[in-house]
Symmetry: C2
Subunit: 237 residues, 2 copies
């Protein structure tokens, strides 16, 4: 609910348009509009030190988002183990997913960058989305941030059942990539370190007979996924 | 505050001792004692599927702890960038730190394991501490979990200024370890992958001429730290 005081402030504010747009996207009026402006300010437009970019808020928003999604998954999947919960959460908060969510929520227009085209394919939208969550948390507290994430973002825009069924599967992505580029690849267990319960696999991923990345984990499959994910970040698309 | 109903329940409960000990450690009485029992139940004592171990609660507690510490650092260091905040947080929630906190809070006696000596040097205490935070969050909500982390854990038991000044420095810890055990070690850049902005170093850590762990990062120093941290988790103390 917007108070009379805020209404008056809003009426005289030069940020009237931003207030209204944010109300449409978020479902509530901001109290401290400057936090939201900061959330949308990419570091490329902060050459001097007088203006803050959105990276601190992104750090906070990322943590709040993780906690809220963790709780949601904990309650929604009471019989699944923490491996499943961890995997589900990384799917939900992946850069690709967050970039898409930013678009669905219509917040991409608010983001200020220096317009550099190299930035276009990056994670600017997803980062700003996380920063927005940080701003909401500071501005309105945990409950509002929690409700925003669940009721405005997750439930209307994410199909958790569908996400559950699709593999995050960087290995699949790697296979697709390799087929497209007609490039051979191979996972190789380079080493097993430790014994018993603390035994870990170090897996190396060779692309065109050259080591591209490594993955280390208690599970060999997970180590392969880690290596595939690391490689996907490096490979020309 | 403990309600009359809870008092009666407590009086007849076989968990009377645990209730009282938890009150001493946490500063409040649990509502649902089973959550706390689960938080202290290591997977080594859950051979059958009828009892749940603490790993789901650890997943949740880890996320809540991260968010609360992120917020605390965000407010405490208003002029520090997100790199600093991230680094500070990993120092605060490092396994070593969490294991110590579990001891300081006196919760290690509550933890149930199968008594396997191989487990003694692991992160069981820190994991149970995170699971406890998960239990508090489910049992009492975000505010209580937040207040517990800040007022019962962080402020009395952690010297944030001191943590700020000390390097997380797993390399220093490794050096200490190597001196104590009179064991030679060496970091070796195994490979550089990618070019330009996405160039990463793969560093291997050899202990007694044997590869013990690997680290991969854009910064060589950070890759060495990652390798040192991974090795420290594996080495006999």
């Amino acid at each position: 609910m917007i108070t009379i005081r805020n209404k008056i402030r809003l009426f005289f504010s030069s940020d009237k348009k931003l207030y209204k747009s944010l109300k449409n996207s978020l479902g509530f009026y901001p109290s401290n509009i400057n936090l939201y402006k900061q959330a949308f300010r990419h570091r490329s437009v902060c050459s001097d030190k007088t203006q803050s970019n959105n990276e601190r808020l992104e750090f906070l928003g990322d943590a709040v988002l993780s906690a809220v999604i963790a709780h949601y998954l904990f309650m929604r999947f009471p019989f699944k183990d923490e491996g499943f919960l961890t995997k589900m959460r990384s799917k939900i908060v992946s850069r690709t997913q967050l970039n898409q969510l930013a678009k669905k929520l219509g917040i991409t227009n608010f983001i200020k960058t220096n317009g550099d085209n190299n930035l276009l394919n990056s994670s600017i939208n997803g980062d700003a989305f996380e920063a927005l969550i940080g701003a909401i948390y500071i501005d309105k507290g945990f409950k509002t941030a929690n409700d925003f994430i669940l009721n405005t973002v997750l439930l209307p825009h994410l199909d958790v059942d569908k996400i559950e069924q699709t593999e995050t599967d960087f290995k699949s992505k790697l296979i697709e990539w390799a087929q497209k580029k007609k490039t051979p690849f191979e996972f190789r267990v380079k080493e097993e370190i430790g014994t018993g319960i603390s035994k870990q696999f170090i897996v190396e991923l060779l692309i065109d007979s050259e080591v591209k990345s490594l993955g280390q984990h208690y599970s060999k499959k997970r180590a392969e996924q880690i290596a595939a994910e690391a490689a996907m970040a490096l490979l020309p698309q």
